[in-house]
């Protein structure tokens, strides 16, 4: 530890750490727009500049290592003026449409302008005339609002190994976009939406489905059905002012009903169903020498990534559809039949922590007779907005129970919301499928937690099953390269596109930070600890659906409704 002086006060700092880290630890606020935790500093925005005695220029605290006895002024008039001017410069090249901007309440640029006290338009001049890209089913890109902080570029490349976008051009004509400024839809973008989450402005937002959903909700002919993903109930309260760490499963059901949804189902149900199908598939592959390691297919960003980057490993993907698509298919088949509803009169909406699910819902594989299995996908953020529009506050909702049978779940299905959850649920049921017994200890500690790469070996009565769990596609890429190079020991790999899983998905609240993700994960584990039905194969509703409709896992009807196959995909990459 060394001593430095900040704003005339002695402060302890770790040797060689960046000044910004020290300041944050001390609770001294210095604004920044381009800083990303855990990645090397970019130094692009210059907003974190501070005055350091003996240095002729202001220094950027994000990329300036501390040294003993340095004297720092973080809010000197000179530093404040520089920051304010930088914001004014950004505003001079920014569309003046805050009133219409999706990010108006979460826009860092607007908030910083407020913080700096920008009250006049000091610089006028030409603004860049860039075109909006609405080609992607998941993400809308508006380069005119981009401040070139580069966070999206770095997330996309360094965390997700996709690199669909980069800086193009130079100087004032620089922008962020795919190669040849093509649409995102033909690029290698996997629609994960991590870029949206780090974007400080409205330059990257989700492709909203709110209008369509509103239309359906107002159509008296339509039965509007909702399903909500495991990660939604552990997150949603944050968008209504709660601190991370409150589960609102029951209130969420009530909220959806009050919004006008005729039925409310739970994607965790189809997660249990996925375990039945995928677990059976895994057992089948192990017993019959099928392609191993088998890889999960719950995460649509990941699937597209394999299609375009590792097409040779497509046979390793499980043939199971994702829980969203399984439930979508069941709603318009099993449920419609059972209730005597014309499937074309069902409007199926899923609430997802994910933007890639919008892309997945539009895949041609997932519609039958011209009817999409899932008609619209709302992100966590969009759901909160819909609620605000109706003046509904989550806190006022008396908890209710979801509709049956597609609304009942085990806690194993719920675990799907975090990295390792699919694996844990699958191992519990695979053990049962292979041995007829349940594990003594259901909790599989080795696959829990936020680590990007987790590996474990499970002894299933002498059969040693080797599994790996990765989240974040860069981690997946490394593992896949190993498999491609001939790594043979693994049986089963769980991949979630977003780091930490769906609780950190691209459709989650913009404000999400590492602490929030930890809290959400903790909630999932708490639910699993506290409830009694903890095994997918013990979910009564799942058993009922097999009895009444599907027959058994991997049955012909299952194959038709719950499985699919994927082909190599050509993209501009």
């Amino acid at each position: 530890m060394i001593n430095i002086e900040v704003n005339n006060r002695q402060v302890q700092a770790k040797e060689n750490e960046m000044l910004l880290v020290t300041l944050r630890r001390e609770g001294i606020h210095v604004p920044t727009m381009c800083h990303l935790e855990d990645l090397s500093p970019s130094g692009a925005c210059r907003l974190c500049v501070v005055e350091v005695a003996g240095h002729p220029n202001l220094v950027p605290s994000c990329s300036f290592p501390v040294y003993p006895d340095m004297k720092v002024q973080t809010h000197s008039p000179r530093a404040l003026k520089a920051r304010k001017t930088i914001i004014e410069l950004l505003l001079s090249n920014h569309p003046d449409d805050c009133l219409y901007c999706e990010r108006n309440n979460t826009c860092q640029l607007r908030l910083m302008a407020e913080e700096m006290g920008v009250r006049a338009r000091r610089f006028r001049g030409e603004k860049n005339n860039f075109h909006k890209d609405i080609s992607s089913p998941s993400i809308v890109r508006d380069p005119a609002k981009c401040v070139l902080c580069g966070k999206c570029v770095r997330i996309c490349e360094e965390v997700q190994a996709v690199a669909a976008i980069d800086f193009t051009g130079r100087g004032s004509q620089a922008q962020v976009g795919p190669a040849f400024n093509e649409g995102l839809n033909v690029s290698s973008c996997v629609n994960c939406g991590q870029c949206i989450r780090v974007c400080p402005t409205g330059a990257l937002v989700e492709h909203s489905h709110l209008a369509e959903v509103e239309m359906a909700l107002n159509d008296p002919e339509m039965i509007v059905v909702a399903q909500h993903a495991p990660a939604i109930s552990v997150t949603l309260a944050e968008l209504f002012g709660d601190k991370p760490g409150r589960d609102v499963n029951g209130a969420l059901v009530t909220l959806l009903r009050k919004l006008g949804f005729d039925r409310v189902f739970d994607t965790s149900f189809s997660a249990d169903l996925t375990i039945m199908e995928e677990g059976s598939e895994l057992v089948h592959r192990i017993k019959n020498g099928g392609v191993l390691p088998m890889m999960t297919t719950c995460s649509p960003g990941w699937i597209k990534y394999v299609e375009q980057t590792f097409p040779d490993l497509l046979p390793n993907l499980s043939t199971c559809r994702s829980p969203q698509q399984m439930l979508g298919a069941l709603i318009k088949s099993f449920y419609a039949e059972r209730e005597g509803i014309d499937p074309s009169k069902i409007y199926s909406v899923s609430i997802m922590p994910c933007t890639a699910k919008k892309f997945e819902a539009e895949r041609p594989e997932f519609s039958r007779d011209g009817l999409a299995d899932v008609d619209a996908v709302l992100t966590t953020r969009e759901l909160a907005q819909l609620a605000r529009r109706r003046g509904l506050n989550l806190a006022d909702m008396e908890p209710e129970v979801a509709d049956n049978p597609l609304g009942s779940r085990s806690t194993a299905g719920k675990l799907f919301g975090g990295s390792g959850g699919v694996m844990e649920a699958a191992l519990r049921s695979a053990f049962f499928l292979l041995t007829g017994r349940n594990l003594d200890e259901l909790k599989v500690q080795a696959v829990r937690g936020l680590d990007g790469v987790k590996e474990a070996t499970i002894d299933i009565d002498g059969l040693m099953v080797n599994v790996a769990v990765v989240s974040g596609l860069e981690n997946a890429r490394v593992l896949l390269e190993e498999v491609r190079a001939g790594r043979k020991d693994l049986h089963f790999i769980e991949v979630m596109t977003c780091p930490g899983g769906c609780i950190n998905g691209g459709g989650q609240p913009i404000e999400t930070d590492i602490e929030a993700v930890k809290a959400r994960m903790k909630l999932l584990y708490q639910i699993d600890r506290d409830e009694s039905v903890r095994l997918s194969h013990e979910n009564k509703a799942v058993q009922q659906v097999y009895q009444e409709f599907l027959g058994e896992p991997l049955s012909e009807l299952s194959h038709k409704l719950l499985h699919t196959h994927y082909d190599p995909r050509e993209v501009l990459k």
Binding site: E157, I165, G177, P178, S188, L572
Partner: protein, 163 residues
């Protein structure tokens, strides 16, 4: 007009097992033979170097040297260095634009002339200066530029009738 592009595989073969630092030389070599950088080029180089297309496009658009459209038969470069500027290259530039009917960075529709502004050709002793297909023309005036262009037009015409 659009001749089939030369195969770039031989160029790629000159860089076996190359890594990213070969990107700019590769782009330069390809542009040398093809005249510009095409989408196909970007994809093939990407496969060769195992680099995403977005990165290659990002690099190519960063540097002045790379073009995404074919050049005209005569590539006119006007030096806009300091020495040329103080000796009146702004007026020369205006004259060129007017005579050729194109803006900087454009190629005339008949494919005869392209006009490019370069930061400095490094022959400041000859300012103001233009360069056509690698040949320097120093100490130019509005009139001499017109004369130079006329000569190239004539040459092109002659070649056309001979063909």
């Amino acid at each position: 007009m659009s001749a089939p592009l030369t195969d770039i595989q031989p160029i790629l073969d000159r860089y076996p097992n190359a890594s990213r630092d070969a990107l700019i030389p590769l782009l330069q070599d390809v542009q040398e033979v093809q005249g510009f950088i095409s989408k196909e080029t970007v994809v093939s180089i990407g496969k060769h170097l195992n680099l995403p297309a977005s990165k290659i496009y990002g690099v190519a658009t960063f540097y002045n040297q790379f073009r995404f459209q074919p050049l005209g038969r005569y590539h006119v470069q006007i030096c806009r260095g300091t020495a040329c500027h103080v000796k009146g290259s702004a007026t020369i530039f205006e004259t060129l634009k007017r005579e050729l009917g194109i803006e900087a960075g454009e190629t005339a529709r008949d494919g005869q002339f392209s006009l490019e502004v370069v930061a400095c050709l490094g022959a400041c002793g000859l300012a103001p200066l233009i360069c056509v297909n690698g040949k320097f023309h120093g100490n130019v005036t509005g009139d001499s530029v017109r004369k130079i262009l006329r000569a190239y037009r004539k040459e092109a015409k002659k070649e056309a009738t001979n063909e």
